[in-house]
């Protein structure tokens, strides 16, 4: 807890001069610890002079922030309209089977590559024009 408190303190200090610093702070915490848990909420609340309920309300509103860390690699697969039109749904069963418990598949609604789906994202790396074999490779390579 000690070192975590210190790290979050540093993150908050980095953003002290920004207007509306909450989201930038939460993004950094999520990136550092893989989650924004109850302890983190409390520290942020104290630093920004808010109630924990208020911070929790913000954290729980956004899809990017998670209450607990999941250490598995994550493959985000777009399942919005344009990727559906290009057949992503027919790839999902096999993808799920391949991912098993090792890889977490999560749904994202649009990666902005809608003319070239099905598309996926791993970290900041994007993959487009995926067929069953291509998606399988993305899942297998996910670390």
């Amino acid at each position: 807890m000690g070192s975590k408190e210190q790290k979050i303190g540093e993150i908050i200090a980095d953003h002290k001069t920004q207007e509306g610093a909450m989201l930038p702070i939460l993004h950094d915490i999520q990136a550092e610890f893989g989650c924004v848990d109850a302890d983190s909420e409390l520290i942020v609340a104290e630093a920004l002079n808010l109630s924990r309920a208020e911070v929790h309300g913000v954290v729980s509103f956004y899809h990017d922030f998670h209450p607990t860390a999941d250490n598995r690699p994550v493959v985000q697969i777009c399942r919005a309209e344009s990727c559906k039109a290009r057949g992503v749904e027919s790839l999902m069963a096999q993808a799920q089977a391949l991912a098993g418990d090792r890889v977490k598949l999560s749904t994202v609604y649009c990666l902005g590559l809608c003319s070239a789906g099905p598309n996926a994202r791993v970290g900041d790396t994007l993959h487009a024009r995926l067929d069953a074999a291509g998606l399988a490779q993305v899942i297998e390579n996910a670390r």
Binding site: E19, M22, L23, S82, C110, C114, S115
Partner: protein, 519 residues
């Protein structure tokens, strides 16, 4: 030889970095440019103005010795490019995105320089005269918004760029931010000059890491040029509704992205309660051109009716020639999909087209003579929105797409109002029941203790469809913002044009008919 390859996210997602490295390794100078927007040809390699695509590592040698079968000739003469009227995207494919040298050499900063000379009132007058309307969805005249903020008296005002681009089938904001970031920044700075704001924020969705990186680099490099105007990029956190302007402002302030009731208008009480211009990326990026000498009149001269200038249209989904097509308003869907887009990529017949993202209606091929114009679309109960067009072939299940519209609304609702928060979930259930043939009374309802519960055979498909129609009316008229208010459009248009996708093929209705035997 100088080899030019785009570093747009789409090209990179298709392996452009490795191809660029392969050319570099062979001793050639590689320039990373913006994308021309011909997505089916990405990664597109350019040598002396001639294109080769879609390129793979295996094509590198053949491209260098001129024997590649992937040659498409002079890129600028390609019909897909030559047929466009590129204003907002005039640098697409032609410049290196964060090169100040390239930007200046192609007329960059001329609009800002001129804006600073003519001053606040004259800038607003020119934007009004150009007829520019908001490209984020609602199509509100940009000049009127700017005038309101200009006339407001406050110690601090803001320019906020809406770069949340959450609509499926759209990518023009992303391409602009990645390919020509200075054009957007110049637009923001001109808006600041017009209304008297010295701080800008670009709220970009977290799904666009490349765009965020490019913007940050560009902002660092042009800090002194735009000063005293300052600008910062803020990253969203995966909420579609944060594209709605008041939700976006709450998010920027560090709150839950709940939609605010209007009034007060953001133009008067926006970010931190201060007068704020909120404009889409494409709206702001159109401004430098409009503010250049004679730009406003030229812009007003394009388009039809009250839809002036050009629209960067995005061709997506199951389409052969997908990508970015900027054209003057007035172009028909048939031209866009069949002539320019080449029909479906699968080669099968087009079944449906969704224009305007997840909240836009599904249009039937019978309606393809509709012309791209805000008012014509409104008349057809449809939406231009952000200009995205998603094509579906005849394998699409429109009942499933209608269900998805409700599911998406349920997943992304901000929760502020009942028709959207609850109606969307009930909508998913209703569509499931319609597709299952209707609804039977459950055991609890049939118990004698449930005096008021009807003991009939439940509801048939027709009755469930009537309920769905009623629910859609309630969402349409009872929702605070367009997420709840427009979700009925894709649902009802799908039901109207493709009822068989909800009720099953007419030749075998028995399989889906409600079994009432145990009622």
């Amino acid at each position: 030889m100088i080899i030019r390859i785009s570093d747009d996210a789409l090209a990179r997602a298709l392996g452009a970095d490795a191809i660029a490295a392969a050319f570099a390794k062979k001793g050639h100078e590689v320039q990373r440019t913006s994308s021309w927007g011909m997505h089916w040809l990405e990664p597109l390699v350019e040598v002396d103005g001639k294109g080769f695509g879609p390129a793979t590592l295996a094509d590198v040698d053949a491209i260098l010795d001129g024997s590649s079968a992937k040659a498409i000739g002079v890129i600028a003469d390609h019909p897909f490019i030559a047929g466009q009227e590129r204003l907002t995207f005039r640098r697409a494919g032609r410049t290196r995105p964060t090169s100040l040298e390239d930007y200046e050499a192609t007329g960059g900063w001329a609009g800002l320089r001129r804006a600073r000379q003519i001053g606040s009132e004259a800038i607003v007058e020119e934007v009004l005269q150009s007829g520019l309307r908001g490209r984020g969805g609602a199509g509100f005249p940009a000049g009127i918004k700017w005038r309101t903020v200009m006339q407001a008296v406050a110690p601090q005002k803001y320019i906020v760029c809406n770069a949340d681009e959450g609509d499926s089938g759209t990518f023009a904001d992303r391409m602009l931010m990645e390919g020509d970031p200075y054009a957007l920044i110049e637009g923001l700075a001109i808006a600041g000059e017009a209304v008297g704001a010295n701080q800008g924020y670009i709220y970009c969705r977290s799904e666009y890491p490349d765009a965020i990186a490019k913007l940050n680099e560009a902002l660092r490099l042009c800090r002194d040029i735009i000063a005293p105007f300052r600008c910062e990029v803020r990253m969203g956190a995966g909420a579609y509704v944060c594209g709605e302007e008041t939700s976006l402002l709450n998010s920027l302030e560090g709150r839950r992205g709940e939609v605010r009731a209007k009034p007060p208008l953001p133009a008067l009480e926006g970010l931190f309660g201060r007068p704020t211009v909120v404009n889409n990326v494409l709206t702001l990026a159109a401004v430098p051109h409009i503010l250049s000498e004679g730009g406003a009149a030229a812009y007003d001269g394009l388009g039809m009716g009250r839809s002036k200038g050009t629209m960067p249209i995005q061709l997506a989904g199951n389409i052969k020639h997908g990508g970015l097509y900027e054209a003057a308003f007035g172009i028909t869907l048939d031209d866009l999909i069949n002539t320019i887009g080449g029909g479906t990529e699968s080669g099968r017949p087009v079944k449906a087209v969704q224009v305007g993202g997840p909240l836009g209606a599904y249009l039937h091929p019978d309606q393809f003579d509709i012309r791209f114009d805000y008012e014509e679309y409104t008349k057809a109960d449809a939406l231009i929105g952000h200009g995205g067009i998603t094509v579906f072939d005849d394998t699409a299940d429109m009942g499933a797409m209608a269900r998805f519209a409700m599911e998406f609304c349920a997943a992304e609702s901000c929760g502020k109002c009942t028709p959207c928060r609850i109606g969307s979930t009930r909508g998913v259930e209703l569509i499931d029941r319609i597709r299952a043939g209707g609804r039977q009374r459950d055991r609890l309802e049939l118990t004698p203790q449930m005096h008021n519960a009807r003991k009939d055979g439940g509801r048939g498909q027709d009755q469930e469809i009537a309920l769905l129609t009623d629910l859609c009316e309630t969402m349409k008229f009872g929702s605070l913002c367009a997420l709840g208010g427009f979700t009925p459009y894709p649902v009802m248009s799908a039901l109207q044009h493709w009822p068989e996708d909800f009720t099953g093929p007419p030749e075998q209705p028995a399989a889906r008919v409600l079994d009432t035997s145990n009622a």
